[in-house]
Structure formats: C-alpha cells, structure tokens
Subunit: 364 residues, 2 copies
C-alpha cells in the first residue's frame, strides 16, 4: 500500500481537512501519479455537501488532476515514468457495453455505470439492478491528494504546449463544454451562446471561439461583461430583456453551464429553428420548459455529461494548438473551504486550481 | 361573395351553434371546395375555449377538411373541378422566409407566421413585431362549414385508395405524428413509443407500425389495452411502474401526444442513449424535466408542430398504400358540443369526423 495524504470531508455539513489514508499499489496496467495540480469544480462542492444525495463519505473530491508519472505497472504501454499526465472524471468503465465499445465511456451502461475519480461508481451497488459492484470499490478518493493510481487507459497525455496547472480544468470543464459542441456539430461561423460565465462557461466560450464560432455569453454579473470583452466575445446580461429580444431565433447552438436549477426558456427562444440547447451544468429537474416555443420551431433541449476519453485528449491537444486554456487562480489546499464559498458566490475568475505542493508543507 | 354556413362560437364560454357568413369568391389561384367531412381535433376545443389565450371570435374550428373541388380560379393548375381534396392546418404562409423556401411552411418565420385554416395568422398583427398583417385577415373560419376557399398550393390531393372521411384526420393528426418520426429518422426495426392513445396516438401508432417500427403505446385507460392489441401494438398502462422499469433505455424514439401539461420524465427514462422524445400534443409549459436522466445518456427532448405540405401529401399517400387510417366515428355537426365533452373525457375511439351533409338539413 502507498501512504497518501489529501483533503476530505466526513460529513455533508463538515469542511474539508487533512486526511491520511492508503492507496493500492499500481497493478499491472496502472500508473502511479504524483499530483501537482487539481482544479476545483462546482461538482466537488455538490458532492462534498451531498447535494446530489449520492455522496459516500469520506469524500475527497478532485477530478481535474495533473501530475507526473512516478511508477508504471509491468503491462503499461501508453505512459512512462516522468510523463506529464492528466486524469479527469473517470478512472474506469465496464468496457463491454455498447457505449463503452463505441468509445463513449462517459455513457457506460453497465449496472454501475462508470467509476468516478471520486465517490465510487456512478451507480452504486445498492442502486444497481443486481446489487453488485463490478469495480469492487464503493468509494474512490479523488485528486485533492498527493498521489493517484489509475488504469493507464484512463490517463490522458498533457501536451507540451500546455502549462500543467492550466491543463487541469480542461480535463472536466474543457471536455464538458467541448464534447456537446462537437456532438451537435458546432462549426466555423456558427453563432454559439454560452449561458453562465463561470468555470465551465468561460472555458466553453474560449473553445467555441477557437472553433470559429461567433460567441455570446450570458451572465447575471455586470462586472463579467468586461471579462467577456477581454476574451473577445459578446456579453449580455441575462436580465436585459431588450438585448435578449434582439437576439431571438439567431443561435445555432446554446450551452447552459449554470450549475443549478434554472429557467432556460429565455434562451430556448434565442435558438434558430431545428437547433439545440444542451444543458451540462445542472443535473437536476430544470424549470418547466414551454413546449410552444420548442414545437413552433422544432427545437431540442438536450443534456450532455462530460465527454469520452478521446474527446478529452482531443480538447487538451486543441487547447495546446490554439494557445487557449482556462483563466486560473492558484491556491494552496489549505484555502479550499474558502474557495468553495467563493465558487458558490460566483466570486472566482474563473477556475481555482490547487497547487498540491502546499500539501507537503502541512504537518499531520 | 359566397353564402356559407357552419358551426361557430362567439365566446370562450359558449357552445358551438349554426353560424351564417360569407366567404370571398375564389381568386386567381384559389380552389373552392364543397366540404364533405371535417375531423374534430383536440386543438379545436383548445381554440373554441380560448385555452391558448389567442382565440379570435367568432371561432369556427376545423382543420381536417376533405371535400370536392367545385370551382377553380383561372390560374389554378394543380387541381380541377370534381377532384377529391384536403385542407389541413394551414391555408397560406409567407413563402419568402428560410423555412418557407425550404418547404417547411409550418415553421414560417414571417412576422405573422403561417395563416391557420381557422383563427387567422399564427402570430396575430398585434403581437407581430411591426404590427402588420401580411395576410390581411385577422380571423379565418375553418372547416366546420359547407364551403372553403383556399389557395391551390395549400390544397392536398386525397388518393383514390382512401375513403374521404378516413382521410380527414390524416391532414392534422396523421402528419403531426408522421413528420417528427420522419425528421428523427424512425426506421424499420426501431422501437417507437407513443405516449397517449387518443386521436393522435392511435394514428401515430398505426403509421409507426406501417413504417416497420416495433410500437408500444402508453395509456392511462385500461380499456384501451384491448384496442392496442387489436391494432397489433404493445400497450402499457402509464401507472404500471414495473412495466416501465422493464422498458428502461430501450426506445429509439418516443412521441408524446398528450394534449395538455404532463410529466414526461417516466418516458425520457425509456429512451436509449442519444435518442429523442418529441412532444407534439401539448403547446404549453411541461412539468420539469430532470436533466440528470437527460444528460447521463445525452438524450433530447424536442417539439414538433404538425408538418409541411410535402409531408402531408406523403402521409396521405403512405396511408393509402398501406391501407391504414384513423378509426373514426362519424357524427352530425349538431352533435359537436357533445363530441367535445367526450374528447375531453377521452371517451372517443378514436377520432370524431363530422359528416357535413348534416349541415344542409338544419334550418336557419
């Protein structure tokens, strides 16, 4: 076993603090990673606080992980000691269902769905139809730690052109916004709307722009209009009804990144005929959608969940090629609880990334 | 002017009764039609009672109209006196917008959208951005009448193999269910679900089956399970949770035909990954959709509105070729108010069609 340290919480009402534990040694096909950086995703907060009612404690979040390979199992061929690598939301999937065979591990339809980097299988054994756990792990502990051991197939390569701390949020926020834009065929010259201008939204806007789209971001925060200008995209206040009216029926694709229940009707109205609004931020019931607007122009409201491994590698490489990446604020792990408060308040520009070197300085 | 008679209501709270009025003579490109049969659509009731808050009175419903051509304007080339023809939900559109040019008149994006067979432009002048009315008609009076005058382009041909009274509901209920199945590419061997087993649902089920799909209808009415069996399709009670559970993630396409606000979440769960549920029955806010189920399998919830002229002709011909059509109950127009009560109670098997000969027997 490997001695490991990280930050975890034992209860929904507790704050994260130092947690010492052991990880399994790297098996035949596993890679041991010294974690250098880990992004802070809004999902981390939802999970730490059990807001999706599925948290297994202790909960150690972190699924935007970048580090260096320190050891590889004897069967590993894809990675070598010293490589800069990344781990996103998944560390395994069943590999046998139709989506897995099609390369869409993020839609794994096994009884337990995929194995999340933290919080165990997406469908826990007690909710699985047969009550089994194909991964043998009820819980997993994520990237808010000094070391991670992951099957090589679920380890991504960080391209040389990308700073490791900047690469981290691409592993979740990047692919979560890129995958639906790819799936719904966003192309050069398309008009793309991004609803919510936070961690996901700002990165989605940069990616859409690099894909050649004309991008408009919708935000509730007036101060963020300047940020939009700085990014070279249009910014509109969600409450600006006149501005929304002028944009009616003009978008080819809209991505909603708001991480909680919200009303998408004002944005559905902005879609062109036959176009799609995809919700990636909120995993819960949305406010009622008026089918009159949807049916009158044969629109669609869809959902999308992160992205598969190939898309994750693709967007990492794409960001390196285009010289784009998230705007990050590095923090020591000791500031994580304060960072959570700020993320919830929308007070971050735009993604916190934990500098894991801070962990080593803390006494047990 | 042509002297005309029909059934109309002057107020949302009134019942329909005999109404005498005048129609414009057929212009250069118009066809005058002696109405033989008119289907009774749930929309007729919504409109007569102003349930969509857009009714112009007097309201004379009827958009499933079949009759014989009695006169043609000098420029008419598509139809001749004596032809058996049909008129559906539309009698004109702008013909200039992108959807119209693409042949999708039902998604006309002019300021007034398309001109409905009854109740005037879909977007009335007072709601149009420029306050104009490109059709010059604030109201239109529909097929619950003895005569109709319609531009030839919006007049469909009733194929010889189809009884005129059976053809009538295909003009709305038929194309409303066929168009989305065509658009979302329902194909031989697909598993198709039809939610709601009324006028639209039963016809959609027959069409889907004729398209080669394996069809399951979902109904709240136990007695209708026998009707499903008679049609050769599977029937499931909506409240049968065990049956729904067994069907999870198994449908390629689901069509919801329920004509009022309803909860589609139980049916979204039945879709396969990457598949679509289209709502055609309800033109209002639906119950909140849980984005967790949608996102976890990249599903879509869409809407669709009737169908274009080409699809309408196509489904008329398809029904004639396959020897299918709606199950109808012929009624005299004098029974229309009673029929409305029964439609609202779900007590019709499956579509009322007015035999317009009954109108001639009524004294003024």
């Amino acid at each position: 076993m490997i001695k490991a340290r990280g930050y975890a919480t034992r209860h929904s009402f507790s704050r994260l603090k130092l947690f010492e534990f052991e990880r399994e040694e790297a098996g035949t096909y596993d890679v041991e990673i010294k974690v250098l950086f880990c992004g802070v995703c809004h999902s981390d907060i939802h999970q730490a606080k059990n807001e999706w009612s599925n948290t297994v404690y202790p909960c150690m979040p972190g699924h935007e992980v970048v580090g260096t390979v320190t050891k590889v199992g004897p069967g590993v061929t894809r990675h070598a000691v010293g490589d800069m690598v990344g781990v996103g939301c998944m560390i395994d999937s069943c590999r046998e269902c139709a989506p897995c065979k099609a390369g869409d591990q993020n839609y794994c339809e096994s009884n337990n769905s995929w194995l999340a980097t933290y919080n165990g299988p997406m469908v826990p054994a007690k909710k699985a139809p047969d009550g089994n756990n194909i991964y043998g792990r009820d819980n997993t502990l994520g990237g808010y730690s000094d070391v991670l051991v992951v099957n090589e197939d679920f380890v991504l390569k960080i391209p040389a052109g990308l700073a490791p701390e900047v690469a981290a949020p691409i592993l979740c926020a990047g692919v979560t916004t890129y995958s639906p834009m790819k799936h719904w065929k966003v192309k050069d010259g398309d008009k793309v709307g991004i609803v919510g201008f936070g961690g996901l939204g700002h990165l989605g806007a940069k990616i859409a722009k690099a894909m050649g789209a004309e991008v408009t971001v919708f935000t509730t925060t007036k101060e963020k209009l300047d940020e939009a200008k700085r990014l070279g995209v249009a910014g509109v206040l969600e409450k600006d009804k006149e501005a929304l009216k002028a944009l009616k029926s003009s978008f080819d694709f809209i991505l909603s990144t708001i991480p909680e229940k919200h009303d998408i009707n004002p944005f559905v109205a902005l879609l062109k005929r036959d176009c799609t609004l995809a919700v990636v931020g909120a995993l819960e019931p949305l406010a009622p959608v008026n089918n009159q607007e949807v049916a009158f122009h044969r629109k669609s409201v869809a959902g999308s969940l992160i992205g598969n491994l190939a898309d994750t590698q693709e967007i990492l490489d794409f960001c390196a090629q285009h010289g784009i990446g998230p705007d990050i604020q590095l923090i020591p792990i000791q500031d994580i609880n304060d960072a959570y408060d700020k993320v919830e308040a929308g007070d971050v520009r735009f993604r916190y990334v934990i500098d894991m070197a801070s962990l080593a300085t803390e006494a047990a």
